[in-house]
Structure formats: structure tokens, C-alpha cells
């Protein structure tokens, strides 16, 4: 199954962004959410941007950030209480249950409950928005969240938890309803981890292939001049073992460009379709302006509009 384009993934209701730690998932997710919520003629979408227990934000409630954009920093304890309250229906009984010491212990210590509850909250919010864009935890833990739905489907023999876990699996399996974007950097480990993650996700959701993004690509650097000057005919042969420590910023830029090209072969050789985001950085800019810049970049790449996507 070929990978969908990012544009196609972004037409779906629930969008998960995952990948190895440190690849920039958090800013990518926020930029995508802002891009989807941006004003386009006659096409207004209500978007929920979700972070999972991000210590940078207060936990809990959905808060409006603009006319069409809201943010939720999902918290497991709160989501658990909310879910129980919804299922039991009687507030006093729900309170007895969630305050009970044994139940507290089970909800906190039992493996997988935490993950299931967080995922359940995200899934539930799809009813209130056109798009839910989720900043998933990095590879292993993100995958554990999807596994939790399957695990509880196995573990419980019936009841609402069993039903909901099943419905969640159906939602995430459907290529019309949900999609995963796997983000990486043009470095060996994140690129390889992305391929592994793709395999694991296909085992869970065989009909729903993920899309791929490589973030922070070094600007194209014309090596001809600099390199020709540097390269005497014998230099390579004379130095069989060069230090991996670069000798100047230019030397670094040359080698980095080459290295990234080399690394991206890891994806190219299995014909992976992916979208590239350039390295955006300005030490004097705030995080907000970085996000704005990212959203604008995504817009020019045709992530949000069908027309540009076709041109590409």
C-alpha cells in the first residue's frame, strides 16, 4: 500500500503526529492545527490541538485559542474521572468509585489504563470538532497507546470499556476517519525508527498507511565551488580515517548536506513517499513566530489546499 500524501491525511478527522523523540513533533503538531484552523474562503474548520500530558501547559479542559482553534492538554486522571462519570451517569456513585482507594490504585498502577484513557479522551473529542490534531508521545510510548486499545479489548469480556475499545480500533483503522503522520529528521536513527514504526502501525491498522515527514532539512548548499577548491587530487586517498569532527562551519555545511542526502536514501530505497520541511531557525524569534513560519511553509508545500497539492 502506498503512503498517502500529507494533504490527504490532513483531510481526516483524527490526525496523530508521532516519531522519534526530538524530531520536532510538538511544534509540527501545533503548526498543523493552526494551519487547518486558518481562515480559507468558504471552508471553515473547527480544530482541536491536543497535547498529551505536556508539562508546559495546564492540564485538563479544552480552551479556545481563537475563533476556530482550541487546545487540550490531555490528563489521564482527569480523563478517567470524566469517563467514569459519563458511563455511570449518577454523579454521587461516580464520585464514590473514583475516590475509592482500590479503584484509584487500579487506575494509576494497572498497565495500559493510563494510555487507554488518554486515547479515549482524544477519540471522544472527535464528536465536537472537524479535526483533532494530536501531538502523540514518541515512538514506543505512542505505539503503546494504540496497543492499549487492543489489550483491553482482549482483557475485558464485555461492558462499555470493551465496546469503546472496539469502536476506537475501528476509528483508528479507518483511512477515512484517522491518519498518522510519522515525523523524522534526516538522520539515521529517526529515519530507521520511522520505518519500524510504520511496520508496527500496519500490523495494528492494516488498511490505514501512515504519511511521512522529514523535518529540519539543511538548506541546499552548492558544494561545487567550495569543494573543488578544497579537494586536491590526492586528499581522499591520503586520509583514510578522517575525524568526524568538522573543521569549519563551511566544512560542516558541506558534509551535513551530503550526509542528509545519504541518510534519506534509507527512505528512498523503499520508495517511501514523504514531504520535507526545511530547517527554520532564528535565534531572535520567539516560539510563536517559529510556529507561524512553519504554518506558512506547510501552506506553500500544499498541505492544506487541494490545488497546490495537485500541482506538486
Amino acid at each position: 500500500m502506498t503512503c498517502p500524501s500529507i494533504f490527504e491525511i490532513l483531510t481526516r478527522k483524527i490526525i496523530f503526529v508521532t516519531g522519534k523523540g526530538g524530531v520536532g513533533k510538538t511544534v509540527l503538531t501545533e503548526a498543523i492545527a493552526r494551519g487547518l484552523a486558518a481562515n480559507r474562503d468558504g471552508d471553515e474548520k473547527n480544530v482541536l490541538w491536543v497535547t498529551i500530558e505536556d508539562p508546559a501547559y495546564p492540564a485538563g479542559e479544552v480552551r479556545a485559542l481563537g475563533d476556530r482553534l482550541s487546545h487540550l492538554n490531555c490528563d489521564a486522571t482527569q480523563a478517567f474521572d470524566e469517563y467514569v462519570g459519563m458511563k455511570i451517569g449518577i454523579p454521587t456513585l461516580a464520585k464514590i468509585f473514583t475516590q475509592n482507594k482500590l479503584m484509584k490504585y487500579l487506575s494509576q498502577a494497572a498497565p495500559g489504563i493510563h494510555e487507554l484513557v488518554l486515547l479515549g479522551k482524544v477519540w471522544f473529542e472527535r464528536n465536537h470538532f472537524d479535526h483533532v490534531v494530536v501531538d502523540m508521545p514518541s515512538t514506543g510510548y505512542g505505539l503503546a497507546m494504540f496497543h492499549s486499545a487492543y489489550n483491553f479489548r482482549k482483557l475485558f469480556s464485555g461492558g462499555p470499556l470493551y465496546e469503546d475499545a472496539g469502536a476506537m480500533i475501528d476509528s483508528f483503522s479507518s483511512a477515512r476517519e484517522s491518519g498518522v503522520i510519522i515525523a523524522a529528521l534526516p538522520e539515521e536513527m529517526p529515519l530507521r525508527e520511522a520505518i519500524e514504526l510504520d511496520h508496527f502501525l500496519l500490523e495494528l491498522f492494516p488498511e490505514n498507511r501512515s504519511a511521512f515527514v522529514v523535518n529540519r532539512c539543511f538548506p541546499e548548499f552548492d558544494l561545487t565551488d567550495a569543494e573543488l577548491k578544497r579537494k586536491s587530487p590526492h586528499s581522499e586517498a591520503q586520509q583514510p580515517v578522517q575525524s568526524p569532527v568538522p573543521t569549519s562551519l563551511e566544512d560542516y555545511a558541506i558534509k551535513r548536506t551530503k550526509l542528509e542526502k545519504q541518510n534519506l536514501k534509507i527512505w528512498a530505497e523503499i520508495d517511501l513517499l514523504y514531504s520535507s520541511i526545511p530547517y527554520l531557525l532564528n535565534a531572535t524569534l520567539s516560539r510563536d513566530s517559529l510556529i507561524t513560519q512553519l504554518t506558512a511553509t506547510m501552506e506553500t508545500l500544499g498541505w492544506f489546499t487541494a490545488q497546490t497539492a495537485r500541482l506538486k
Binding site: 479503584m103 498502577a109 494497572a110 503503546a144 461492558g159 530507521r192 580515517v241 555545511a253 535565534a283
Partner: protein, 393 residues
Amino acid sequence: MTPQDKVDLSDLSALQLDAIIKKRKVLVVAGTGGVGKTTVSSALGIRAAISGRKVVVVTIDPAKRLATSLGLESLGLDTPQDLTDALNLHLKQQGKPLCLGQFSALIPDTKKTFESFVAALAPTAEIQEQVVRNPIYQIFAKEFAGTNEYMALKKLHALVRRAEFDLIILDTPPSRNALSFLEAPTLLSRFFEERFVRWLVVPANRILSIGMKKSLSVLEKLTGGGFMTHLVDFATTLFEVQTRFTETLSEVTELLKSEDVGFCLVSGPTPDTLSELEVFSKTLTAKEMRFDVALINRCLSYLKSQPVSPSFFASPAGQLTLQICARETQALRAFNSFASFSGVSRQTAEKRSSEKPLLLTLPELSRDVHSIEDLIHVADAFIAPSADGEISL
């Protein structure tokens, strides 16, 4: 100050790093995913081995090419591989003095370790069988956040006991943040909290309050019944292994608190690293553990003054490298105020506050490290920044 007290800054920090390597029996290398923990751990290991220590690097998830070049391609060997000969071969090729100690690496098989752990704790084969068959256990073994961390600790514990090495460098498992490793034991012990396990197991305790009765019936309704049976079953078997589990856990925690163990935090040269450093330091202090080194990896600014072709800084790539350098210098300056910095004399350097870590940088490399040769270069490249955040080779 006498003339011989004046030491070159980089020599001084190298001395301090070597003092740490010499003093500790265990160095725990922590950090968020993707910062280069494995490279740093291996480079520290090589540095220690060259200086005469018998060292083993324990790493859970190395890059495949690195594992291959270290001769560890067959994962799950679970025993230390002696790489001293390979290291010496490359040292010789690079014209450097040979290694005085010994260099080994070990990749634990986490799944196997967990099973052998249950086997070791379960009093009888039947109980072991029961635990392993239980669906809750199967999920626990596969998914539970903290299991990897616990297994790493367990491996560490076993290695310390065997006393085969002078220095164990533990590359912590990949995780969301640097603290997961430290929090894992607490999470796990919460799971094994005795009063609850006992409650589920011992029938005499089942004189239920009305609240408990109601709660249980709600749980039954939510989960469809079968779950409770599994749970009681699992708790029964857990109860059998619980005491010994807690014992191991507290032994490891004691070990981590001892003078023998120091921590190294690896992070990137960006401004948000400061809060990570602060939280990590605070957490270690609260746990009575020692923060030895704050290692800022992938630094570029030491190259700022190296000559480039005239048009380079006008190109987008050149502009980008300058911006990265500017952000980095700013960040390093901020870290200096946090970490211990004493470029004054050897004496003050040795009196370095024990709560404040030594601040060191490693350069950004122009290729992925996947050979012992590369690691030898990295082992030589630890640099301390000056008070105004500048670094130079």
C-alpha cells in the same frame, strides 16, 4: 596564585572529567530521546578504558551500524563483549598510546531479563507458570512504561554484584524525558503496593464497606466481569513475588544514592535545555543522588572563528550555521550560571560544589558515529565553555 596553579581551561575540565571517571563505579547517562546518549556513553567508556579503568558500557538501543561496528550485531547476547583488542587496533592506527584498561559493551535483552527476573522471584515453577500465563502479566511485560527502566536497573544491580568491572556506564533506555529513568522504580513500587495487593488476595479482608461494594459493582459493569478474575489471579501471584521485588528495588535505589554512582545528563545546545537541567538537578538532589556532568552535545559554535570561503556566510546554509551558533552561545552562557564553573585554579576546581555538575560540550559531528575510530575522536573532544559561553578546540 602560584604559576603552576594556572591551568588551561580545557585541560582543567578534562582533569575534572577524568577525576569523575576515576572516582565513580557507576555513571548513569540520562537524556531525552535523540540527544546522543549512546555516543556519549561509548565515548566516556573509551576515555575511561584508555585511562586504565576496566569499563563496561551497557546500552539498550544503539544505532544498528554502531552495534555492528562494536561487534554486537547479534542483539540479546546479554553478556559483556570485550572490545579492548579492537579499540587498541584503532588507537594504534591513529598513533595514540594503547589502552591501559579494558573496554567492554553489553546490550541486555530486556524481554529475557524480565522473564528470568520472574523466574528468579517466583518461589515455585507453578507460580512462575501462573504469572507468565496471566493476560495482565503479558500486557505488563510488553507495555508497562517503566519495565525497560527497571530491567536496566536490574542489569546494573547484577553487574555491580559481580564486581567484574571498575566502572559501569549505563546508557538509559530511550524515553520521553530524562527523568523517566528515575521515576520508574517509584511507578513500579506503586504497582506492587502491598496493602492493595494484599487486599485483593487475602479473603479475610473482604469484609466490604458499602463504598467498596458499590465501587466493585461499577468496575464489574465497566469491564464485564472477567477482568476481576484475572486481576485477583494476578494479584495472588504478585503477592508471592512482591517481597523480593521490593527488596531488589530498594537495594538498587540505595546503590544509586551511594558515593559510587554519578549521573550525566546529555542535552542539546538550545535555550529550553536550561529548564531540563534545573529540573534534573532538583530531582537528583531530592533523591540524594549526584549530578556529575551536564553534557551539551552537538555544539557547533567552536567553529565560528575557523576560516571559510568568502561567499559562504551569504548562502542560506552559511546564515543558518551562524544562527545556530548564536543561539548556542546564548544557551551556553545561561548554562554556565547554573553549572559549576571555575576557570580560576586547580584548587577551586577540586572544591567544586557537589550539587553542581561539571558543564562540558561535545561537538556536532559531520557524520553519524558508527565505528570505534569515530568514538576515539569523540572521546578526545570534551570541551568546557568559557564564562561567556564561548567554546574553542
